[in-house]
């Protein structure tokens, strides 16, 4: 007890001494370092740039997997010929279909309004169409069932909430939104194991899916430095640094190779 008192007294004394000596050095005031997020800055169409390009493939293409729909006669009948898996579709010009191209980084701190119209994912002939689709965070995804059989829609995300709903033929469309961005959310149908689709969810509208000519275009992009990402179901993902100036139309081509 004694010692404590003495120590307290001594420290008080020292404190007084320090104050008395006029050490004016105040501890640096901690400024709140929280940077205010820049508001949704409207994008000036006058300066907006465009990125376009194509995604091509190098190497020997794997053989496409045939899908046997024997168990689902109704679906099988909807297809004229044999049905192949869509996990690797090579266009005639050597480009890839169903590659998802998106701005991976460079847009942090901006916010974009959610588009009011829904992204549609149809189930037709026991296949998801389109196979790869992009949506914004909070944007409605409508899942339709155009088949005469019951499907179940089962997204298996990592960051979003998982759900699994059955959809009888003729039932109302399932409408869902995804609250967090994620590349990519696989969607399955447990009844038809071959059915698969991917939804890419982003916080911004700068994404595109390559189609039959393997090209993509991302427009209305504010000038700046970006990382452009590409994802393909079988070939994995890759990325590229780009820099776009105002009103520039930049062409970016991706070449994906077969891994391994």
């Amino acid at each position: 007890m004694n010692l404590r008192n003495i120590a307290a007294f001594a420290s008080l004394f020292l404190l007084l001494l320090v104050i008395g000596c006029g050490s004016a050095e105040q501890p640096a005031e901690e400024t709140a370092a929280t940077e205010a997020a820049p508001a949704a800055e409207p994008i000036d169409p006058a300066t907006a740039a465009t990125i376009s390009g194509k995604v091509s493939f190098e190497g020997t293409a794997p053989r496409r997997r045939r899908i046997r729909m024997d168990a689902e006669v109704a679906c099988a009948q909807m297809h004229s010929g044999p049905v192949y898996s869509e996990n690797f579709v090579l266009n005639d010009n050597g480009t890839l279909r169903n590659a998802f191209v998106y701005v991976k980084s460079g847009l942090e701190g901006r916010s974009f309004p959610t588009p009011p119209d829904a992204v549609v994912l149809d189930q037709k002939g026991c296949m998801y169409t389109p196979h790869v689709v992009g949506a914004m965070v909070g944007q409605t995804v409508r899942v339709l069932n155009s088949d005469q059989t019951t499907h179940n829609v089962h997204p298996v995300p990592k960051n979003n909430r998982e759900w699994n709903r059955s959809q009888a033929p003729g039932a109302n469309a399932i409408e869902a939104t995804f609250a967090r961005d994620e590349i990519m959310i696989p969607v399955k149908c447990n009844v038809h194991p071959w059915m698969k689709s991917y939804i890419g969810v982003l916080k911004h509208p700068y994404f595109a899916v390559t189609g039959e000519d393997g090209t993509f275009e991302i427009g209305n992009l504010p000038p700046g430095d970006y990382t452009l990402g590409v994802w393909h179901e079988s070939l994995g993902s890759s990325e590229m640094q780009i820099s776009v100036a105002a009103q520039e139309s930049k062409t970016v081509d991706f070449v994906l190779e077969k891994a391994g």
Partner: protein
């Protein structure tokens, strides 16, 4: 005053000065004492003042937020609507209500006047009646009666107010007064009831409004916050104490820790970083252990009474035996009551400690009450058996004697009595036989249940590469960094002696030669059959798989291929059975002696020599995966390629055959207690060599031998239990530091392979291993259900069920965390989630399944239920006792009663059966698309169990809940939700319905459940054929195939 000549120094001097000085000193010291009493030893006063100001500030802030939030809710349209309705409802009845109120007011005034008058009159009457009752003579009674009558007839004048504000004079006799008084009261009650009726709808609306507000406001309401704020501001500065009289518990912790139980969750940051004011971090736990009943120190330790200083209060001063647990060991307190809980919610560190204690083989050397004591039980069972045999023999002899005495008896009566006695004795002996049988079975069970942490060393000659043994013994952690084998402090010569002893002591046998398999296929099997739930592959960063069992990255360097094949095929297979009675391994010669084939397994487990139960299994927990020999060889081939260097790269170990080392090795093996974890010939009955640790935490600190480090520990502040355990676990040799000792006198405890977190966990466990100080009635006294759960966890963790299955909410299985199973397709290959399994499974079926997971005697190479899973539910060869525990465990976890009496399932009417079949085969109801049918082609794509297992396996209530929303029971399941929709009271199928359903008014889910649980193979065949007919011709063939297959 007499004269003072010459300034007499005695009489001439005044002492006032010194006396004044000392008096001042005395006053000062008195003030000091007062200060010390009121502030010096009561630092909590300052804490309370500080808390009040800081908390008030926090509450003000929150109040602002909540007021705004409440405002938002109030402004919401839904709220406004209800508010509007409420107002309207109130306004509608307002005139009537005010009329009633007015009348009630008038009535009240009159009632008051009447009540006074009536009470005076009644007082007089009752006093007179009392006189009547106690009057001694009849005449006196008569006189008082007359008086009563007189009073009753007397007119009472009252001045009654009338509604217009004036009064009227009335007079009543007693009875009239009473009836008038009662009438007015009744009238008032009637009016009030009427008022309530009128306001009913308004009140309901108001309640609805308040509920709406409550449901939509996150956190405490502003009103509640204001209450807390007022209370905080007005709180007097005083000791806050919990006093539990029955336990003589006085806890004043809350005198400083004022925020502990505040309804508002307070963090240290809220209070300017003062942790002392933060709320209890685990509200759920606190709700389970109400501090008003349990106090604080039974869990946290410390000195609940002391308030003089932080050190005193926390009991961190010298001589206080129960210092506050440090945050990293806080769960030690749980052990007070929950010693028997192997897995305890809210106590992950402690759970980990217990798990490590068992898994790392601490239990091999240190006894701990309740931990794997089958060996001890076995000994006592054998003793009991011996006693029973003795008693039985005595009974028989006694009966014989009694009969003989009866034969010679003088009277018939006496003879009858003796014969009866003999009969009784024989019946008793027969009862003893029944007991003996049970005990025999139990000892067999126990032999099955005994498992050892390490592998049997009897088989090392057939199992291991000789050169590897000394390398391993020298430093196991070097060779396999994740091993549970601890590192012993062995000199090279000791390593050689032990190796030589073990080698020479091992069984010499020849295993059948096995051809090599396909390593690529083996790798796939290894990764998909479920091996990785326990075993890992790859080292360091690349390690993938469970840590329950060995890392197999270098297994190819040490084992023989032939042995590996046998081991993978059935790890329990022994080369020789062990007879605990003869205390030796039996040889083929023992069997040949009795003309028996050398055959031993769980069904042939008695000793040919003496009939005792044999140990016919390896004492490993590793189960049999029921693999085909081809699969086995593939896996073994894969494993044997897992090596960093060749088996021949190890230095030749010629000394293994050196007989002169045998005895030295033997004594070393005994000295180091190798038999605690390993089966070693000649050491099967060896006891544990370490201290018992059951009460290690209550051991007086003086009994913990810090040796030469005592003073260092004192100086550095770790001279306490925590410090002792932590240092010992980090380096068991630490207390030998500086001591000069012969090798055999040095501390024997080997260095365990522990990470800092593991040390914390084990320290927590040991700190908690105390003689409970909590009085008996406050301890956790689990009911049957909870006891079943407790016992079950011991089995579940023993066999690592949680490697494959999720059992606890929030605790994923090992497989769930592996990279392979992150892929959406592989996720469906995960073994079933067992949360709520007790509600799902019929316990009788579960018992069967656990005994034989293939659910088949002939076709073992499959899963019994989920045939589509690549991971295999292994055969664990559980003892019946273990199966009972597991079944009870799962039932108890889901609060299911035992024994299970299946509810009667109403048979289906013909119409219902037709409907159910239609639903099942309807294209919109694809049940059989995913659920297996037993047809090989179909089942290739199936990913759900066969319906044929359902009747025996499932409980109807669960099945119905499952159909309605499977994702609620097992999130991520392939079974979709939304198959049914609610329509009034019933659930109907959500898809297009066959037209026949139009007339069916029953619940569709119920219909399906009933159908499913009464399904027969014939019925299923019928369904398949119908489905085939409904589809295209191409599928007809498929259906035909299906029919054929059944």
């Amino acid at each position: 005053m007499p004269p003072q000549p010459n300034h007499d120094p005695i009489t001439g001097r005044s002492m006032s000065g010194p006396i004044l000085l000392v008096t001042i000193l005395l006053v000062l010291s008195t003030f000091w004492a007062l200060y010390d009493e009121f502030f010096g030893t009561r630092p909590w006063k300052a804490y309370q003042a500080r808390f009040a100001s800081k908390y008030s500030r926090l509450l003000q802030e929150k109040l602002g937020e909540q007021k705004k939030a409440e405002e938002d809710v109030r402004n919401s349209t839904a709220f406004q609507r209800i508010e509007q309705q409420t107002r309207e409802a109130e306004e509608a009845v307002a005139p009537q209500v005010s009329e009633i109120d007015r009348e009630v007011r008038d009535l009240d005034r009159r009632i008051t006047v009447l009540r006074d008058a009536f009470q005076i009159a009644r007082g007089e009457v009752t006093a007179l009646i009392y006189q009547v009752e106690v009057a001694s003579s009849e005449r006196a009674k008569e006189k008082f009666r007359a008086q009563v009558e007189q009073v009753r007839q007397r007119l009472v004048e009252v001045e009654l107010p009338v509604p217009d504000g004036t009064t009227e004079n009335r007079s009543y006799i007693y009875d009239e007064l009473e009836s008038e008084y009662d009438r007015l009261k009744e009238r008032k009650a009637e009016l009030i009831a009427q008022r309530v009726r009128l306001l009913e709808s308004a009140n309901q609306l108001r309640a609805q409004r308040d509920t709406y507000l409550k449901d939509n406001l996150v956190g405490l309401s502003p009103l509640a916050l204001e209450g807390i704020l007022r209370r905080t501001k007005e709180a007097p500065i005083k000791i806050r104490q919990i006093h539990v009289k029955e336990a003589d518990l006085v806890e004043r912790c809350e005198s400083c820790h004022l925020g502990t139980r505040e309804p508002l969750l307070i963090t240290a940051a809220d209070m300017g970083g003062e942790r002392v004011f933060a709320s209890h971090p685990n509200g759920e736990l606190l709700a389970l252990h109400d501090p008003e009943r349990f106090g604080c120190s039974p869990c946290h330790n410390g000195n609940g009474r002391a308030t003089a200083s932080v050190v005193k209060g926390h009991g961190r001063h010298k001589y206080w035996l129960w210092p506050l647990y440090h945050p990293e060991n806080v769960e030690a307190g749980c052990q007070q009551c929950h010693v028997s809980d192997f897995v305890l919610d809210h106590a992950e560190t402690l759970n980990r400690g217990k798990e490590l204690f068992r898994l790392r083989g601490c239990i091999g050397c240190h006894r701990y009450e309740g931990f794997d004591n089958q060996n001890e039980v076995l000994v006592s069972v054998q003793k009991q058996l011996q006693q029973l045999a003795d008693r039985r023999k005595d009974s028989e002899i006694e009966a014989e004697r009694s009969i003989q005495a009866g034969d010679r008896a003088e009277t018939n009566q006496e003879a009858q009595r003796l014969y009866q006695h003999a009969e009784n004795l024989r019946v008793r002996a027969s009862n003893l036989d029944a007991q003996t049988d049970q005990l025999q079975r139990r000892s067999g069970n126990l032999l099955r249940e005994i498992k050892q942490v390490g592998p049997s060393l009897k088989e090392i000659r057939v199992k291991l590469q000789p050169g590897w043994i000394p390398v391993w013994l020298t430093d196991p952690h070097e060779w396999r960094p994740t091993t549970k084998m601890p590192r012993f402090r062995l000199q090279d010569d000791e390593v050689q002696a032990i190796s030589a002893f073990l080698w020479q002591n091992a069984i010499q046998a020849r295993l059948p030669r096995q051809p090599r398999g396909n390593a690529v296929r083996g790798k796939e099997l290894f990764e998909t059959r479920g091996c990785t739930a326990c075993h890992s592959m790859g080292e360091g960063e690349n390690q993938v798989g469970g840590t329950f069992a060995a890392n197999l990255s270098r297994v190819g360097e040490k084992v023989n291929y032939d042995y590996l094949v046998r081991w993978i095929h059935n790890p329990r297979e022994r080369t020789r059975p062990y007879c605990p009675f003869e205390k030796r391994d039996l040889t083929p010669a023992d069997y040949a002696k009795h003309g028996l084939p050398f055959e031993f397994d769980l069904d042939h487990a008695t000793c040919p020599n003496d009939g005792h139960q044999l140990q016919v299994q390896q004492m490993t927990v590793m189960p049999s995966l029921r693999l085909t020999w081809q699969d086995t060889r593939d896996i073994a081939t894969y494993l044997i390629t897992q090596r960093r260097q060749g088996a021949n790269d190890y230095a030749a170990a010629d000394f293994l055959e050196d007989n002169s080392l045998f005895e030295t090795g033997k004594s070393l093996v005994r000295h180091y207690g190798c038999a605690g974890c390993h089966e070693i010939a000649g050491f099967e009955q060896e006891g544990r060599i370490g201290t018992e640790l059951t009460l290690e935490g209550s051991k007086p600190i003086e009994r913990l031998d810090f040796a030469l480090l005592t003073h260092e520990a004192e100086r550095e502040g770790w001279y306490n239990h925590k410090g002792f355990f932590e240092h010992k676990l980090a380096d068991p040799a630490v207390y030998d530091q500086g001591k000069v000792r012969k090798p055999e006198e040095r501390l024997r405890m080997p260095k365990p392979n522990l990470a800092p977190d593991d040390i914390d966990a084990l320290t927590t466990f040991l700190l908690g291993s105390v003689n409970p100080t909590v009085p008996e009635q406050f301890r956790y006294n689990p009911d049957d259900r909870r006891k079943d759960i407790q016992e079950g966890w011991w089995v579940v963790t023993k066999y690592n069920c949680m490697g494959c299955h999720q059992i606890r909410i929030g605790k994923p299985s090992v497989l769930m965390t592996l990279p392979r199973y992150q892929d959406p397709d592989w996720r469906e290959q995960l073994p079933p989630n067992l949360i709520g399994a007790g509600a799902r499974l019929n316990p009788d079926w579960l018992a069967q399944f656990l005994a034989n997971p293939a659910l088949s005697e002939s076709n073992l190479n499959r899963n019994g239920v989920r045939t589509y899973l690549q991971a295999r539910m292994p055969t664990f060869n559980f003892s019946p006792g273990e199966i009972r525990k597991l079944v009870r465990f799962f039932q108890a976890l889901s609060s299911q009663p035992l024994p299970y009496v299946p509810p009667k399932i109403e048979p289906l009417s013909d119409q219902e059966r037709t409907l159910a079949r239609q639903l099942f085969t309807h294209p919109a109801a694809p049940c059989l698309r995913c659920h297996a049918t037993g047809d090989a082609v179909h089942d290739r794509t199936a990913n759900a169990p066969n319906f044929l297992t359902a009747p025996e396996r499932l409980k109807p209530d669960w099945t119905r809940r499952w159909l309605l929303d499977p994702a609620r029971i097992s999130p991520g399941t392939a079974m979709p939700s939304g198959l049914f929709r609610q329509e009034g009271e019933r659930w109907v199928f959500a898809g297009p319905l066959p037209p026949t359903f139009r007339n069916y008014s029953g619940d569709h889910a119920n219909l399906l459940v009933r159908y499913m649980l009464q399904i027969t193979p014939a019925e299923q065949r019928l369904l398949l054929s119908r489905m085939a007919r409904a589809s295209s011709p191409s599928t007809v063939g498929l259906a035909a195939n299906l029919l054929k297959s059944h």
